[in-house]
């Protein structure tokens, strides 16, 4: 179902933050008006997302002058609101602050939906000169561009979220939860899981957490390339070979973009608990229980280095009651050193805590402690018999 202009306006309002303030403030200076506002028109409410002279927030849409502006082409001006039958009985006009003057310019999205207006208000009647009308229209265009950027970034973030596992892997005996919170709308962290065939014909859960150098949309594009390459190779070959081939497949793209990628990937046998893993310069994976912690690390380089490396596997066993925890360096960064990071991870490994709760605790901790990077965590454990009641969650709040 297509999104209505009001729905688009509501979404833009929700994610606006302070990004429009820097257009609103100069507008006030240019027009010498006591009130300047960016209003987005939803179904029931008008959302004032940036303003000087009035409060930001939601007001009933039937009291909004900008609701009329969005039906207009170009600048809409009312020299004296008291003389206009459409507006003279509105609370803002009939009661304090008793507004007299309004000028607004409708704002359109890239898709052509009119979602709101930039408006100026005054307590005395006035009239814009020709150049002032043009300036108001120009500021409107500036805001439309800013809205387009916001929309593009939000859409890119949505695509990236949909490239994460959305359902539990179809394999009994293991339970897994993962979550990534990009620092901006999109980022260079990703995780993935898939069920693959093991050497003995049995099925394995393959899990990967990867971190592309840098942040934002550019890193997210590279992350998509790496994810697709690993996913494809993993269907046809063993783990170490799949990582090796992924490194070779992506090498030209990583080199031309001067990016490197850390990766931690594993295959887990749900029947025996055997874990095969490859650590390509990631270094942030452990097996924890309430009484123990051991790191699953190797000394391989990340992908995309200027010298050749060969990625081999290491092995461990995941016992019942233990969990594999993999995090990105956005988590690591909020701790002073490895030991305190490991100790903190272990503290979350309470037997009564679910994997999804552990993931949420770790991610929330890093975000709350001022991580300035993408933050990702995966937790895996074995379940005793029956199908694993697995959960995959993800989110993207700041």
């Amino acid at each position: 179902m297509p999104t209505s202009a009001a729905q688009t306006a509501q979404r833009l309002a929700q994610d606006a933050g302070g990004r429009y303030d820097r257009v609103i403030r100069p507008a006030q200076a240019i027009f010498g008006a006591p009130i300047v506002a960016l209003n987005l028109i939803g179904d029931e409410f008008q959302y004032t997302v940036a303003a000087v002279g009035i409060r930001t927030g939601a007001t009933p849409v039937d009291q909004a002058i900008c609701r009329t502006t969005v039906t207009q082409q170009g600048v809409f001006e009312v020299h004296d609101l008291r003389d206009d039958a459409r507006f003279k009985d509105l609370p803002l006009v009939a009661e304090p602050p008793r507004l007299r003057y309004y000028a607004g310019v409708p704002l359109r999205t890239q898709a052509g939906q009119t979602v709101g207006a930039l408006c100026i208000l005054d307590f005395v009647p006035r009239e814009l000169g020709r150049s002032q009308r043009e300036m108001l229209a120009d500021l409107g265009t500036l805001l439309e561009r800013e809205m387009a950027v916001q929309e593009e970034m939000a859409k890119a973030g949505e695509v990236q979220q949909r490239l994460l596992p959305r359902t539990a892997p179809d394999i009994p005996g293991v339970e897994i939860a993962g979550r990534v919170v990009p620092y901006r709308d999109a980022g260079g962290d990703f995780f993935d899981w898939q069920v693959v065939d093991g050497d003995d014909g049995g099925r394995r859960l393959q899990v990967v957490l990867s971190d592309v150098m840098g942040k934002g949309l550019a890193a997210a594009l590279i992350a998509s390339v790496v994810r697709a390459a690993l996913r494809t190779h993993s269907r046809y070959t063993g783990l170490a070979d799949a990582v090796q081939r992924t490194a070779e497949t992506t090498a030209p793209d990583l080199e031309s973009n001067e990016r490197f990628v850390t990766m931690w990937a594993a295959r887990i046998d749900p029947v025996t608990g055997a874990v095969q893993y490859v650590d390509a310069g990631h270094g942030l994976a452990v097996i924890v229980s309430p009484t123990s912690v051991r790191r699953l690390v190797q000394d391989h380089l990340p992908l995309g280095m200027p010298i050749a490396d060969t990625w081999t596997m290491a092995e461990d066993v995941l016992a019942y009651g233990e969990r594999i925890v993999i995090v990105s360096d956005g988590v690591f960064d909020v701790f002073p050193d490895d030991e305190s990071a490991m100790a903190a991870v272990q503290m979350t490994a309470d037997p009564d805590t679910t994997n999804a709760e552990m993931v949420d605790t770790i991610v929330a901790y890093a975000s709350d402690h001022g991580s300035t990077d993408d933050v990702t965590a995966i937790v895996i454990s074995r379940t005793s018999g029956g199908a694993g009641a697995s959960t995959g969650t993800n989110g993207q709040e700041g």
């Binding site: 942040k215 001067e258 990631h282 270094g283 200027p306 490895d338």
Partner: protein, 110 residues
Amino acid sequence: MELTENDQGRYVVLAPAGRLNLVSAPTLQTRIGELVAGGQARVVVDLSGVEFIDSSGLGALIGGLKVARQAGGDLRVAGAGTQITAVLQLTNLNRLLAPAATAEEAAAAW
């Protein structure tokens, strides 16, 4: 970020100060590229004034290492603090960028 440069003749010491991240990394990498293009392919990056490095900062060092080696030289690092040492260990990049205690020590073999 401030970038101090000290030409020792046989090699150049670049000393960035502050945070070596997404914002400041290109400054360092660009300067390394200029030095190498100008015929000075032996570069020591003195990290003693760097309080924090992120993946983009590491990328600048690796990128610098690459152009230096392609020109027959090398890039070495010195004076890495706790956070930088931890990140180099974690990513195994200390295999390529083993930090020396001081710039003089890093350049000892040149």
